[in-house]
Structure formats: structure tokens, C-alpha cells
Symmetry: C2
Subunit: 330 residues, 2 copies
């Protein structure tokens, strides 16, 4: 099943069911107006949504709408919990190296997860606001899961069952604000502005074989300014799988339905696969060429993030964002 949120000038948008090939959608107000409502009542809503999805895919429903990525908000336009991991420790090692920081040994066995801000997500086709080029604007291509309610102290084995939906993420970062914030010891805040998510969120069965209960074994494709930037495989070199990240997040608290847990930037040791963010590319340039050559993003730059199944069909639609200069309101 594929779900999306149509922009309708409300804060939470309109939940729609989308067909497999992302061409048709249907609103289902008799089941749920918003995705958060459906997640809050997942046991009751899920079978009804699945019935609509089945009828939409089989052609039984006639009052459908054309589905357009551009008209979608993020599946959850705002959420109560967004925790982003750094599960590809290979990437963390490179980024740390780039900012002259050492990687402690426990990063290989103690999951890294930061508390993200979740009140104002960007839509998948929304412009990325640029205030100051000197802040070092960067994209990060990731995968995220949405959970149902998770009890405190859950085991990774049980956490896998709490995953109800998957999305792609552009975890936008302001690289040059990070060193000062991390030096203060309280983690990211200004350096992690609003993230954007894929036009659709999908249930595990949509992956057929590619979801193994722990990882998604497919490449994540990033184009930067229309050039292929990276296709690392999300199932390769993931040090901490999704159930492990969820269990880590729920160690001292329960998690509310609609919790989003991110993988962190997808990164493979095999550098022929490219990268999922500029910071990693700059680091590799420093190693191979002695200096970073790829600048961070400026107005007009464009990033497109997408995942294709084994038949080359887009699973989530695309995150497709251009950077636009932001003018402060007077």
C-alpha cells in the first residue's frame, strides 16, 4: 500500500491512497482525513486503507484523481517525533575526518541517533530556503521508517513489527553551523533545518523481497544538478539496522504512533557507488586530490532523490528540490 498527503492549505493536508505505479490517487475521508489520524488508529484504519488500495490497483474505483508528486506535502507534514540515526558508520567516519574530529570506537557498537525537529517539514518538491551561503547548505539522502506505538524498553526483535511505513528523506544540513553547535555539547539545532520526505510512504509488502525485516536491500539514487551523484545500496554497510535504531530510541521512553526514525546518510565503502551528500564527496576529494572541490549548495542548485525497485519503477516518487534565496519578512 502507498499513502500520500495532498496539499490542501491545511497544516496536515489530505490523506490519499496511491496506486502502485504512482499514477492515481483517491481521498478516503470515511477512513481518515490525515495520515497522523490513520497512524493514531492504525489497527482499525489499516484494513480499510488496504481495501481502497486493492480496489484502486484493480481498477474498481472510478472516482480517482491523477497523482502528481508536485502536489504532495511530506506524508506527515509535521510529526510528533523525528529521530535520525547515523547507521552507516562509514559515512560518520568520513564526515568526522572532514571536520577534524576523531571517531570514538564505541560508534561501531552504540547507535548514534539525534533528536530532530519535526514541526515544519518541507514538501518533496518545496524549495530549500537559502539564507546565507556561508552556512554550507547540504542535502543528505536517507531512508526513514514510521512506527506505530512503541513501548519503552522494546527489543529489536519486537521493534521490527512496529514498522508500518517507509519514506525517503532529504535531511537538509547546514554544515558550517555544525562545528560550533556540536562544540556546545547539546547536539544539532540550527544546523538541522526542516527536512523533506518523499511524496509517498509505503508499507513493507511493497518491497516484495527487498525488505528483509531489518534493512532495505536496494540502491538509493541521488542526482545533483541533473548529474548522477550516488547510488549506494541501503542494505550494504548499514552498521545499525532499523529495529536496532527503534530499540535505541525507545530505551528510556515510549514512542508515539507516527514516530519517524531515519537511517542517516546512505553510504557504501565501495566509492564507485558515489555519495548521498556533498560533505562526503568533499571529504573524498580531500583524500584523493588534497582539497575539497565541490562547493555546498547555492541558489538554483537542484537535488533529486529516488529509489527504484528491481523493475526500475519508482517506489516512493521523487524528492526534487531546488535551492531558493530566502528573503526575511520585514
Amino acid at each position: 500500500m502507498k499513502l500520500a498527503t495532498l496539499k490542501n492549505n491545511t497544516r496536515d493536508g489530505q490523506l490519499v491512497v496511491v496506486n502502485h505505479d504512482l499514477s492515481l490517487a483517491i481521498a478516503i475521508p470515511d477512513v481518515a482525513h490525515t495520515l497522523q489520524f490513520a497512524l493514531d488508529h492504525w489497527e482499525e484504519c489499516k484494513p480499510k486503507l488496504e481495501q481502497y488500495a486493492h480496489d484502486l490497483n484493480s481498477g474498481k474505483i472510478k472516482n480517482d484523481l491523477p497523482f502528481k508528486n508536485q502536489n504532495m506535502a511530506s506524508p506527515l507534514p509535521r510529526a510528533y517525533q523525528w529521530a535520525d540515526g547515523s547507521a552507516y558508520v562509514n559515512h560518520v567516519e568520513l564526515v568526522r575526518q572532514a571536520r577534524g574530529a576523531e571517531l570514538p570506537d564505541n560508534f561501531w557498537h552504540d547507535p548514534l541517533l539525534y533528536q530532530g525537529g519535526s514541526d515544519t517539514f518541507l514538501g518533496p518538491y518545496d524549495a530549500i530556503p537559502l539564507v546565507d551561503e556561508a552556512w554550507g547548505l547540504d542535502f543528505e539522502a536517507e531512508i526513514a521508517v514510521i512506527t506505530t506505538d512503541v513501548s519503552m524498553g522494546i527489543t529489536p526483535e519486537k521493534a521490527s513489527e512496529k514498522i508500518c511505513l517507509f519514506m525517503l528523506v532529504n535531511d537538509i544540513s547546514l554544515r558550517n553551523l555544525i562545528p560550533n553547535e556540536l562544540a556546545k555539547g547539546f547536539g544539532f539545532f540550527q544546523s538541522k533545518p526542516s527536512s523533506a520526505f518523499s511524496p509517498v510512504a509505503i508499507t513493507p509488502d511493497e518491497f516484495i523481497q527487498a525488505w528483509d525485516g531489518k534493512k532495505i536491500n536496494l540502491p538509493l539514487t541521488t542526482y545533483y544538478n541533473k548529474q548522477l551523484f550516488g547510488t549506494p545500496n541501503a542494505g550494504v554497510d548499514m552498521t545499525f539496522d532499523f529495529p536496532t535504531l527503534i530499540a535505541h530510541a525507545a530505551k528510556t521512553r515510549k514512542l508515539n504512533a507516527g514516530t519517524i526514525i531515519g537511517s542517516g546518510t546512505i553510504s557504501n565503502y565501495d566509492k564507485s557507488k558515489g555519495s548521498s551528500c556533498i560533505a562526503e564527496k568533499r571529504m573524498l576529494e580531500m583524500i584523493t586530490k588534497g582539497k575539497a572541490e565541490t562547493p555546498f549548495m547555492k541558489a538554483g542548485d537542484h537535488v533529486r532523490i529516488e529509489m527504484f525497485d528491481h523493475e526500475k519503477k519508482s517506489l516512493f516518487g521523487a524528492i526534487d528540490q531546488e535551492v531558493k534565496q530566502y528573503a526575511h519578512a520585514l
Copy 2:
């Protein structure tokens, strides 16, 4: 105006208007079922809520209910944004000293703010779950504001106008999990479990003179196991005021209506005023007695946090929580 959220077995509870002396409440379903809805539509809802508050306080409304702190959830049982400052830098200095970390000079001019988790707040009378005494369970008595929508890059001058409500907070901390998390560089996560807020949220006019547009000039009272623990004045030694904290939070993102911004633990240089958390008391013991004597919280320990106006009336009701051993579900 005073607003509260009655527990009613839903995730967001039932919004009620409460009278000045916290004895009566009335549900107002014709205006808003939940506080988040009222905040999402604040311009329309505020005058209607104020009319109800006026009629309740003047005795015009007869179908009211007795108000009981114990039946309340936190005013926002879950929120989209909870960012907690450390505005009393005096406190930060002491806590850093206690964990052997230095205080960088920029802490005195660059606000410290961490991204909190906001999906599952505790109610003001809910038990604090204790999983492992070795984690170092502590309370922190604070004040928080709730904002309407805040645009990116707002100035502190304009940020003051975005404050619509105030609450008290118990920002529960797991002190012994902090050093490892901060060493990883990504800030707090497991070391900051669910916070609890006061039974009522109040508008600025409820303070009469005590709110000066930047700070609240009243003591915050904490009782620990029925003994007075601290009465530091929230208007004294606050290095970064609320408008400054909001502007800091909104530097690289807009903030959604219902954003909660906390002051951090209230702390005065005048130590005759006591403390607002155990960690600070332990630090002072180390300085004066050579070792920390007050243990962190264990099952059965009890904390009560309250603020009184100049007539000794409780402004927010009390946060009143007992620690209870948590048993993991099998």
C-alpha cells in the same frame, strides 16, 4: 486566561478553560476540542476562549466542573516542537563542573538550546517511570512558553509577541546517561526521557506585573520529598530571556504554532534560594563538603513544582510526581 487538558483516554485529551483560582473548569467543544487545535487557529479561537474565561470567572457559567490537577494531562499531551534552553548559565557552569567538563566562554553570549522529544509527555501527576536507579534520575524545575507560528529569522523584539501561553516543566533527566551521549556529539536522547508540564497553561496577562515581556519575575518553588528544595527567582540570573531563545530556535527554520520553548533549570547565584534539580545540589555539596551526598531519585521519591503569585495563589497548579519502578512488558 487559564487553559488545561482533561484526560479522556484520547491522545490529545479535552481542552478546558479554567478559572483564576483553579477551582472550576468548562469544556468548550464549540471552540476547540484540543489545545493544539486552538493554537492552530489562535486568532479565531483566542477571543472565544477569553469570553468563556470571563464568563467562568464572573460566575455567569453554571454548567462548569470542579477542576482537579490530578485529572489533567500536560496542556499539550504531545507537541510538534519542544526545544529546551539552558538560559541560567550559572546552572550550566555548575553542572558542567560536576561532570568535569569546561564551560566555553561563548556559553555566555550564544544561547544553549537542545532539541527535545515531544511525542509522549507525562501528565503533571503521572508517576515518573524508573527503569534503573543507576541511570541517575533527576528532576529539573523550569518555565516554558508556547508560541504561535514563528517565521524564520524573527528578531527577539518580534518574538516576544509570539508567546501566547506559559507553563511549568519538570524536564526529567537521566544524569548518568548524559556523559556517554554528549561524548558522541549528537546531544541528548536517552538521557532526556518524557517531560511533564503543569496542569494549566496561562496567558501573559495572568502574571499582572510579573511578566515583563522577556522574563517572569517570580520564584519557582520545588519541594522534594515534602522538604523545600528551592525557590530561585526566574527573573534573576536569566542570561538569555524567552524572546532571545525563540529567535535562536527560529534562526534557520520557521516554528509551528504550539512550539514549546523551555528556560532550562531555574538557578540563582544566591544559593540561599536552593536549587531546581538534584545535580546542582550535588555540585554544591562537592564544593562545600568535598563530596555529593544527595542521591538521585529512587522509587517512592516525590517532587512538587509550583509557582505562586504575589498573593500566594498558585498560578499553574502543581507538577506533583512520584517515582515508580517500571516493569517492562513481557
